[in-house]
Symmetry: C2
Subunit: 199 residues, 2 copies
Amino acid sequence: MAFFPASLEKLIDRFASLPGIGRKSAQRLAFHVLALPDDEANAFADTIREAKQSVHCCRICQNLTEGEICSICASDRRDKSVICVVSEPRDVLSIERGREYNGSYHVLHGVLSPMNHVGPDDIRIKELLHRVAEEPVEEVIMATNPDTEGEATAMYLSRLLKPFEIKVTRLAYGIPVGSNLEFADDATLNRAIEGRTEM
Amino acid sequence: MAFFPASLEKLIDRFASLPGIGRKSAQRLAFHVLALPDDEANAFADTIREAKQSVHCCRICQNLTEGEICSICASDRRDKSVICVVSEPRDVLSIERGREYNGSYHVLHGVLSPMNHVGPDDIRIKELLHRVAEEPVEEVIMATNPDTEGEATAMYLSRLLKPFEIKVTRLAYGIPVGSNLEFADDATLNRAIEGRTEM
């Protein structure tokens, strides 16, 4: 039986350890990298090292940044009295894409998940409470995902924030703009009816 | 607008440059790598460098190996009088998986593709001709893919090999074992009828 050379097998293993990459895809990626010119393959390796070295969390909002604080926290055009709590850095990008929200963020880096042994100390909750205690925060918007864990995390946080007597809100549920009632699931439709607004 | 830090963007770009990885997947992969412990992320980078440094082509069959010649070419239990010509290293693995074939291989590292400017000098044809001329080869099996480019490459090679007066064969076409006639396409069914064998 012929297998791949050991260092190629190792590279395939690395790629296969990434989320959403199966064995076959990992092989294809490894072959692609091996077929790259030397300098490009090495640049790939360097990019991993560099990103890992220079990217860390913003001291204030915990979003990823290369400086001490991120561009949003550093900007004086953003409203620091509103904090939008999201679970992952990519969620910041999603909300920024809308170009509507002008407050600040707080990235939890996860959600509470007893099944996966993620408890309150494993995500950036302490840092959020610290901000609310120290800064003149008026509103915290819970923008975790509308799934079980995201909901539970939002509920847990809203209870923790109660003593601070600030406004704690949750993203609205409802039918997506431009979609079709026919394709909306029951839970979403029910939420859309509950949350109906006057015209 | 908040974007990702520059070195994270660079890492996302790298992943997005891999085959079959879109922008969203690249983001997910980059975030995953950033979330790895330092030593694991660096090990990933090292694995790329090492694989790129130590893996090269077997001097004889052009398959990927870490030594001067690969384990199949080095084995005295393999029949060197038969050469199975494949387009990619992964095809060797596919055939080896069948545990039936006991000859040697020749990896072309591509197929002829005028559309993509891949000509006879861009794939390992010279090396194959050299082997056939120098070694006591009795049969060359064309095992390129049964698509247009694979066919054309097989045809081209078989013409080049004609002067050597050896047997040149092609993998059989037909219905896949365990499949259903209902799902076989017309071309495959026609080939299966043409290539019918006596029972």
